[in-house]
Amino acid sequence: MKKLHSVVCVKVVPKPEEIRVDPDTNLLIRDGVSSEINPPDMNAMEMALKLKDKYGGVISILSMGPPSFENALRVALAMGADHVYMLSDRKFAGADTLATTYTLAEGIRKIGNVELIFCGEESSDGATGQVPSGLAEWLGIRQLTLLTEIDIDINKRLGRGRREAKGGFEILEVPLPAVVSVKTASNEPRFMDYRIKDWSFMPERLTFWSAGDLQVDENYIGLSGSPTIVIGLAEAPTRTRKQRYLVGSPDEIVQQLLDVLHIP
């Protein structure tokens, strides 16, 4: 039987609560902000790992970003992935959805023989949630999105997933290969296995690929491959709240509460 090869697309993001905009330059201040694996991608990791527990096979991690993200990605290895592929090149920088999905798709082609590609629902920084579907389009393969559960028919090479739908659910089945996006918080990501920590830090666990290695069409990558242009950036205005404390006996508080709610 052919081994199952899954790729999990992982983004390393700055922690959202630490990010600020420089009022002079209108650019994000990334200095001193700590990075983590995009939390929804951890749910994608867990779903892929569960399939590996059940059917065996190999999990590769695919990520795009500077080499400094390496340590954050080792976490995925220590959770049970087999290898990390990092697409790292200044030419990839500034990519929007179109350029990002193209670049990731080229990475997946180069890894080769992949049957399942897992993505988190969205990234906490950009939150576009459109990468999985775009990726499937570039690769010309099927998709199962926003899944809370998955299983595969290992003989027939089918993927079957449960997806939340309007006040209910649907169960969809597609032939592999397919891109799968995983509903955020639909599972409990496992902890790192400290016994394999040293293993996960071995240099050979990581492969770096540049634009040249991928032989990409440079018109399609990075800023120049991105149709969208950011023309302004700002911190969202936060509403200031009254912060008025209601005090007194419980009955008095209830009365004040009714007044606030305009209930006679």
């Binding site: 906490s124 939150a127 949630g129 775009g134 950011v230 009254k242 209830v254 009714l258």
Partner: protein, 343 residues
């Protein structure tokens, strides 16, 4: 630079809205986008077109006209009865490439996102996701989208001057749906559908849809956190008395006290009620995002240092499990008195 399948020079001066329907009823988000699309089209003096796919949909078009569409382009075919990404994206691709609209808007719903992601790649165009505001530059016909990142903390304005269609998905609940006139009508254009069953790979094995709580739209939300110990029954009672609905933070959802569709916050629903009553909620950043647009926030928490109080208009430092029954009693008393007066 990658070129889109048609250029700004070839565009038709129209704004297209993908109309999402379930069992012959248009989704709220589609009405919201139609309303906003009407405003943009009026400013540009362009046409607003609704794009509708399905099978045996009944009389949906009249509500789309009522909310401002000039034209409805529709496809009716048995293979479009259930949403499948292959059938829907193929039909829409053809319709768009034939008619070349300048702008194409979809709801940021599960299916809307799937379609938008595929189609933007197919058209080699840009895609602004989960937009919270839209405007058109009158002189250039360029669409400017406001999107938020980092859990709503950062706003960005994004445009795509040289690619068409200018695609965006719009976050449900951000625009107010306003019908103009229920007797309005417009032009109906039927698409020729040529679908091959073999090109549809997705098999819908089971599908159960039901009544969905639309938390984005209720006037009062009574939200419970870890502090209520899973006691959602009394919250439900309270919400009913206040004419609202219940919501939750992530911990009670994770603990199985309440289904995930009730989760408020960054990974759940972003709501904008008149009143959000937060019960036993500490106020994690991810939750606050979901109630920030509420007109009034009231919080009850026994911990005086709970961060939620910083984001509240009215703060009650008290045991929520004692406060809620008292509030319910008071409201029931009031209801009885009013009832007696009437009878």
């Amino acid at each position: 630079m990658v070129a889109s399948r048609y250029t700004p020079a070839e565009e038709q001066k129209t704004i297209w809205v993908y109309l999402e329907q379930e069992n012959g009823v248009l989704e709220n988000v589609s009405l919201e986008i139609l309303t906003k699309g009407r405003e943009l089209a009026d400013k540009m003096e362009w046409q607003l077109t609704g794009l509708l796919l399905g099978h045996d949909m009944g009389d949906i078009s009249s509500s789309a006209f009522a909310y401002g569409a000039d034209v409805i382009v529709f496809a009716d075919h048995p293979l479009l009865e259930n949403f499948t990404i292959e059938a829907y994206s193929d039909v829409i691709e053809k319709a768009i490439l034939e008619r070349k609209p300048s702008v194409f808007l979809l709801g940021a719903t599960p299916n809307g996102r799937d379609l938008a992601g595929r189609l933007a790649v197919r058209f080699r165009t840009g895609l602004n996701a989960d937009c919270t505001e839209l405007r058109m530059e009158k002189k250039t016909g360029v669409l400017v989208c406001e999107v938020s990142g980092f859990g709503g903390g950062i706003l960005a304005l994004i445009e795509m001057p040289s690619h068409r269609p200018q695609m965006a998905t719009v976050r449900p609940g951000v625009f107010e749906p306003k019908p103009r006139n229920h007797n309005l009508t417009g032009e109906l254009v039927e698409l020729n559908v040529n679908l091959n069953p073999d090109s549809i790979y997705t098999r819908v094995i089971e599908r159960m849809v039901g009544e969905q709580v639309d938390l984005a739209r209720v006037p009062v939300i009574v939200a419970g956190g870890r502090g209520i110990d899973g006691e959602f029954e009394s919250l439900r009672k309270l919400a009913k008395l206040l004419g609202g609905a219940i919501g939750a933070t992530r911990p009670p959802v994770d603990d199985g006290y309440i289904p995930r569709e009730y989760q408020i916050g960054q990974t759940g629903v972003v709501c904008s009620p008149e009143v959000a009553l937060c019960c036993g909620i500490s106020g994690a950043f991810h939750f606050i995002v979901g109630i920030e647009k509420s007109k009034t926030v009231i919080s009850i928490n026994i911990d005086p240092d709970a961060p939620i109080f910083e984001f509240s208009d009215y703060c009650i430092v008290s045991d929520v499990n004692e406060m809620i029954p008292r509030l319910i009693n008071a409201l029931e008393d009031i209801q009885e008195t009013t009832h007696e007066k009437v009878t």
